[in-house]
Amino acid sequence: MIGTLAVDLLLVSILIGLAWQVVRGRVLFRAIVFFVAFGLIMAMIWGRLGVPDLALAEAAIGAGLTGALMLGAFRRLVEIDARQAVSGGLRPSPRLSLLLSLLAGLLVAVLGLAGLELRGGSGEAGRAALDSLHLTGLGNPVSAVLLLFRGLDTVFEMLVLLGAFLGARHVAERDRRSGAAIASHRLPMVGALQMTVVPLALVVALHLLRAGANDPGGAFQAGAVLAAGGVLLTLTGRVVPQAQAGLLTRFSLIFGTLMLAGSGIVPLIYGGVLMAPPGKTAIYAIEAAMMVSIGVTLSLLFSASAGLRAVRS
């Protein structure tokens, strides 16, 4: 008992320390790096709380992708104006803001404890989910909830991702220079790094996808890992951003949502029920489509471009 408590205390203290560094870090770059570290510790805490799906998601998306996006944006700021690299961007912290944040923390603590007391609830929906898991043919209850029981949430979650991409393009569209290739300096190690890591990312993504049905994993985590591969390719210049998106790219952007929404609508034509649960193989197809969509969308968001074109080096 003592052991787990020690581990929890350690994790919590590191988490809070990192959070403080993110906020107080004098240089912006350091703040971003600490944020990535914060994400990893958060992933460990999810693991500690016995929710591996979230641990994977936090590590892949929360820490990995968000960190990459932030660093990509930071790099573009520096390209526009070199002074950004050293700018602190911090106000002197008046007493008031410290007091206010303390107050906010206390308020959330009280709310949290109140929330714990309220936990008397029977977890009705959760129990129903676990009871009807056998109907879906899926082992992993989280995937079942995401894809089947609350399928509409996932459809709209994918639409949020699509909306973010469209919004980013809409804002950056008339910005001719945003598509400029990120300088890929020809370091000897870059080729080797790329040769090993990218195929590895692909394998891990496919594993997460296949495992997702019964064990922790699933389309989102797989998509994020795929995107990690995309980010690496963009960084090393193997892939060049395009200002216009070809039909294939456009289709891959909406492929996942199309399949998920389609599987919800199709049974209606034969008099079935809206968003009825599809068969097991259909679920795999949908998850694969979603993986592709998420991977492509996140990669394009990183390279801030409409499309990517491979370059024969």
């Binding site: 929330g115 309220l118 609830g121 977890g123 909306g163 469209l166």
Partner: protein, 475 residues
């Protein structure tokens, strides 16, 4: 029945996918086709709601606490019709100021359809978390569309709205978490055990929704955002998309409202303050769009009066008021956009002699303005009368006075605009209008304003439909 409901949400989504896949020169045509097609599904849906009162659907046949539920009642149908009308009117060729064809067609039309899809989904959803996802999508897409003008003020307004929107969702999400912790169900329905919801969760959710609905004093992002947005976007946001959070607030309040706390009084007080602040601010604005934006702030406050007057009749009056003001505001935004295109400015001081230079826009402003003030024979009066009736029956004197006051205050800024645009002697300004907006754009705005007035003359059917609006519990 499910086909009608599915059509309302999935047809605009299909149009969105089509616009993304097809070459960009077809974008506007496909968008219009999609926006014409989905209201057709509304017709059977309206008939069904009229026959059976509230219509519910468990998605995927999973019983409600597990799966997501859809619920359509009178208020939903009325708001969906408003969304259909304003979205279509906004799609009419907005030449000049922002021509989606010239730049951004590849992204403007998909975002426009995404906004309509998200609004429909959030309106029909009867699930707390699904509502969160819908509201988040609406915020994100609205911010992108507000940033269409691609100049510094627009981008700043958009960024401010996005940050505040994220904070709002934060609080709402925390509240949803506590609700799930206590009741074990996310359904927007009468809590199974009948145990009154813990008021802290309710307060958290309401705070989040108030940020998204721009309730005073959390409204700071609205005036700049609507002021900077292009006409059609401002129209759709002010009329419908911006009101989804408010409708959600009504539903949550009517289901989970604790009966003995001072909460309704606080929310009512916030509403009154919003009415006064919004109207006073609208009186001093120099640009037409910002006047309409501040009038939105006042209107949100007015619509909060339903919370302390919690009764089906109040809900009916407020629903009618939301519909009519939706039409009037959308008309004013489109007219303001046409004026901005034609005269190069929407500064109220330099629009004198408008009734001769742009008669259609002047008439639209007049009609919409009178509807906002709530003078008979427009729809505004009917909505105001119903709410007054309820306020009187429940002896809610504070709300009665606020409602009467809101008429006077809105009269102040509406008649100021009408006087400065139509009755001011025209100074040397050139007779010709540099770039006349296409007739279709002017007619679209006028048509919306006329809807606000015609519904006021024949409110019977709409009111009967709204009577079936008792949310959640009583059908």
């Amino acid at each position: 029945m499910t086909n009608a409901l599915a059509g309302v949400v999935f047809v605009p989504m299909a149009a969105l996918f089509a616009v993304i896949l097809l070459p960009s020169r077809y974008s506007r045509a496909v968008a219009i086709a999609g926006l014409l097609l989905w209201p057709i599904f509304l017709i059977p849906l309206t008939a069904m709601v009229r026959a059976e009162g509230a219509v519910t659907l468990a998605l995927g046949n999973w019983p409600v606490p597990l799966g997501i539920g859809w619920r359509v009642d009178g208020l939903t149908v009325v708001t969906l019709w408003l969304n259909a009308a304003v979205a279509l009117a906004g799609t009419v060729r907005a030449a000049g100021f922002f021509d989606p064809e010239r730049h951004g067609a590849r992204t403007y039309w998909p975002l426009w359809l995404l906004l309509v899809t998200a609004t429909n989904a959030a309106l029909v959803s009867a699930d707390l978390f699904n509502l969160y996802v819908g509201l988040e999508l609406i915020t994100l897409v609205s911010v992108a569309l507000i940033a269409t003008a691609d100049n510094v003020p627009a981008l700043r307004a958009a960024m401010r709205y996005l940050l505040l929107g994220m904070l709002g969702s934060l609080f709402y999400l925390l509240g949803v978490g506590m609700v799930y912790g206590q009741t074990g169900s996310l359904a927007l329905a009468v809590p199974a055990g009948g145990a009154a919801l813990d008021s802290t969760a309710l307060v958290l959710m309401l705070t989040g929704l108030m940020v998204k609905a721009a309730v005073f004093p959390l409204h700071v992002w609205l005036p700049d955002s609507y002021g900077q947005a292009p006409g059609p976007v401002g129209a759709l946001l002010a009329a419908v998309a911006g009101k989804v959070a408010l409708v959600a607030l009504w539903r949550i309040w009517f289901l989970f409202a604790p009966d003995d706390t001072a909460l309704p009084w606080l929310i009512g007080a916030l509403g009154s303050a919003a009415v006064v602040y919004g109207s006073l601010a609208a009186m001093v604005q120099t640009r037409l769009k910002r006047v309409v934006a501040y009038s939105s702030v006042a209107q949100v406050g007015f619509l909060l009066m339903v919370v302390p007057l919690a009764s089906p009749a109040a809900f009916q009056g407020a629903g009618f008021h939301l519909l009519v003001h939706g039409f009037a505001k959308a008309a004013m935004f489109l007219a303001a956009a046409n004026i901005l295109i034609a005269l190069g400015t929407d500064a109220v001081g330099r629009l004198s002699g408008l009734d001769k230079r742009m008669p259609l826009e002047a008439f639209t402003l007049a009609l919409a303005g009178v509807t906002l003030v709530g003078l008979p024979p427009t729809g505004g009066f009917i909505g105001k009368w119903k709410l007054l009736e309820v306020a009187w029956q429940q002896a809610g004197w504070a709300w009665l006075i606020t409602i009467l006051l809101s008429g006077l205050l809105s009269a102040a800024y509406v008649f100021r605009i009408l006087a400065m645009t139509c009755f001011h002697p025209r100074h040397s300004g050139s007779r010709a209008v540099p770039r006349k907006p296409p007739l279709a754009a002017s007619l679209a705005a006028l048509l919306l304003a006329l809807c606000g007035v015609v519904i006021g003359m024949f409110p019977g059917p709409v009111l009967r439909l709204l009577a079936l609006a008792a949310p959640g519990g009583v059908s």
